[in-house]
């Protein structure tokens, strides 16, 4: 200690506080990681002993069979969300970052749109599912099918993609922008060749996070996609789609143990899917950062 402490007990109190603080932070870290580890191990230990590879190749029949329909359905939903929400979200992010720059004098239209986007991202998913059911499934007579599910899921994840695109674009150094303008590049060209390339890690992270969110949703899909034993077809309406979260939600308290195993298997598959998406985003970020300047190491 370089300062002259005013009183002896004060220093001791500060030391005790310091020790408690260090201890408390480690305890907090353990409290964050331990239940999660318990959860993951719990799912693995319930699913792995009864795992059969036929689960991936057999569709569900009642409360037994396999999960092929659910796996393909989840992948199809993710692909659809990537296309719809990905394009809309990236474009929205581009608008907020580049094309509607906040003026120094006060708020721009951008902040209003940003607020709306953040409010939508915090919206309860069951309410969105209900609106999808009332307006699209029943109202427009689409029935439980792919299109209402994709529209509602996209609504949920567009704010995340827009936000990550915007923040990724904002982190591109201004020199790049100015250089592009100095060279006379059109906005579109500059965006494609310069800005988006540098912002790609952030954008891809946002996209993959959005896919993980979409794949893990249950409530909105219950009321838009329905459920079916059949494998997904190409039709957008009138044919329900299966998805992995359904067996987890409904099969765990069915009486048959086969149903329980399917429930745990679906949970395991979901966790693997989320892990793959997040690891992929990390790899992409690391690989692209190797070529860019200003690595965070």
């Amino acid at each position: 200690m370089t300062i002259q402490s005013s009183s002896y007990p004060d220093t001791r109190r500060r030391r005790i506080t310091e020790v408690l603080f260090r201890f408390a932070t480690m305890v907090a870290l353990v409290l964050v990681l331990a239940p999660a580890l318990w959860l993951i191990l719990g799912v693995i230990f319930r699913a792995v002993p009864h795992w059969k590879w036929s689960v991936i190749t057999t569709p569900t029949q009642g409360t037994s069979g396999g999960l092929e329909n659910a796996i393909l359905g989840t992948l199809l939903l993710m692909a659809g969300v990537l296309i719809i929400a990905g394009s809309a979200g990236v474009l929205a992010g581009i608008h907020l970052a580049e094309l509607a720059r906040p003026r120094r004098s006060g708020k721009s239209s951008g902040s209003f749109l940003r607020t709306a986007s953040e409010v939508l991202s915090g919206f309860p998913s069951i309410v969105l599912g209900y609106v999808g059911y009332v307006a699209l499934v029943v109202g427009l007579h689409w029935g439980f099918s792919l299109l209402p599910a994709l529209l509602i899921l996209s609504m949920m994840v567009i704010p995340y993609i827009a936000k990550s695109t915007e923040s990724a674009l904002r982190q591109v150094p201004t020199n790049y922008r100015e250089g592009a303008e100095a060279l006379g590049m059109s906005t579109g060209y500059a965006l494609r060749k310069v800005m988006l390339k540098s912002a790609l890690p952030g954008i891809v992270t946002g996209l993959l996070l959005a896919l993980a969110i979409a794949g893990g949703e249950t409530a909105p899909l219950l009321y838009t996609a329905g459920w079916t034993n059949n494998l997904p077809s190409a039709s957008l309406v009138h044919h329900p789609v299966a998805y992995l979260t359904y067996p987890v939600w409904t099969f765990y308290n069915q009486p048959s143990s086969e149903a329980h195993y399917l429930s745990y298997d679906a949970a395991l598959l979901l966790m693997v899917l989320v892990l793959v998406l997040l690891v992929a985003s990390r790899i992409i970020v690391a690989r692209t950062q190797r070529h860019s300047e200003g690595r965070r190491g």
């Binding site: 581009i94 951008g110 709306a116 986007s117 953040e118 915090g122 309860p124 006379g184 906005t187 249950t218």
Partner: protein, 365 residues
């Protein structure tokens, strides 16, 4: 200049002798210019439309909700927010009309237990999650070596992606029974019979209830707050922290007086993100809350329900009320939840903007 010309597809014909390269084909130049201008317009226009999608979606959702809920709003009135009954009425009996709205005889809905349940579980979740997340973020950024904190940080981000239905499943099968057998009885037996702590006394139930739901929700929002806070802490410039250390402050004091105030806006933003998730969380709470409509939990272990969980368990069967009144009431509950979520979000943005020197949330929040 030649680069620009090539990018818009001008013909690469050799220059005519004596003519300036740019003016070699004024038609091609005009076409190129038109393409460039249109491309610019196309980008601007499509980006603007895309940025309006969240606003349009929000307006659409609120409109549909309001339209569907209107009959119920008329009949239920303000009492919806304060009354505690959830009576669908005699759906197999006569239909009566109030204010021009048809509903079964004896139908009377009050959402107070749901509102209380929503606020209580979210409050517990935030109260547990925020200190733990901040502490964990400190541990990650200050205490641990880089080779350990990076993978652990990544692990926390993976946790944020675990679907809520899996967390709910684990809560029902593992955590709830564990807590009710090993933790709650010990806590409940030690509690004296004084006003606030009375809430923690027996009966401890069977694992499904308010406290378990709050704990499960906390587990869900901790990764969001913790990873955002960790990113924020990494962005705090080292100079103020080193200066504080040079003045002789302990790590705890540096944390309290320098680091946290620097990123307070971001932490609040992340907390609100977590709060928003907790308010709207449906599936996990539906599995672990005990699903009791019509009464507030008598003590902290008691069974209850939240607005979101009620909607998901009652929606399918609400349509059996042939008058449509039950569905309209659930729409009203959904509208209420939407309004609560919007208000919370706006308040938080207001706090963030007001307390932040930089004018915008820092970090990934």
């Amino acid at each position: 200049m030649a680069i620009v010309a090539g990018s818009t597809g001008l013909p690469a014909s050799p220059p005519a002798s004596g003519v300036h390269p740019i003016r070699r084909s004024s038609l091609a130049w005009r076409i190129g210019g038109a393409i460039r201008a249109n491309e610019e317009q196309a980008w601007r226009w499509s980006a603007r439309v895309a940025s309006l999608i969240p606003l349009g979606a929000l307006a659409f959702v609120l409109t549909v909700l309001a339209v569907k809920a209107w009959p119920a709003i008329k009949v239920n009135g303000v009492g919806f927010l304060t009354s505690s009954s959830w009576k669908p009425g005699n759906t197999y009996g006569a239909t009566v009309h109030t204010d021009g709205v048809a509903h079964p005889l004896g139908a009377s809905y009050g959402a107070w237990p749901m509102i209380a349940g929503t606020l209580q579980t979210s409050a517990i979740a935030v109260a547990l999650a925020v200190p733990i997340s901040i502490g964990a973020a400190f541990a990650l950024t200050e205490r641990l070596p880089r080779w350990l904190s990076q993978p652990l940080g990544f692990a926390i981000e993976v946790l944020a992606g675990i679907p809520s239905v899996i967390i709910g499943l684990w809560g029902v099968l593992t955590l709830g029974p564990f807590l009710s057998k090993h933790v709650y009885p010990i806590v409940a037996d030690q509690m004296p019979d004084v006003p606030v702590l009375r809430y923690f006394r027996n009966p401890t139930g069977h694992g499904e209830g308010l406290l378990t739901s709050g704990i499960v929700l906390a587990l869900m929002i901790v990764p969001i707050i913790a990873s955002t806070t960790r990113d924020l802490f990494l962005q705090v410039p080292p100079l103020p922290k080193e200066g504080a250390e040079a003045l002789g402050m302990t790590d705890a004091e540096v944390a309290r007086r320098v680091t946290v105030p620097w990123v307070r806006a971001g932490i609040i933003g992340a907390t609100v993100l977590g709060l928003g998730r907790a308010l709207g969380e449906t599936i996990a709470v539906a599995m672990i809350s005990g699903s009791i409509l019509g009464s507030v939990a008598p003590n902290i272990y008691g069974t209850m329900t939240t607005i979101a969980a009620t909607i998901v368990t009652q929606l399918d069967s609400a349509a059996t009320d042939g008058t449509g009144f039950a569905t309209a009431t659930l729409a009203e509950a959904g509208l209420l939840l939407a309004v609560i979520s919007v208000v919370v979000n706006l308040i938080a943005r207001g706090i963030v903007v007001r307390t932040s020197r930089l004018g915008a949330p820092v970090g990934r929040a």
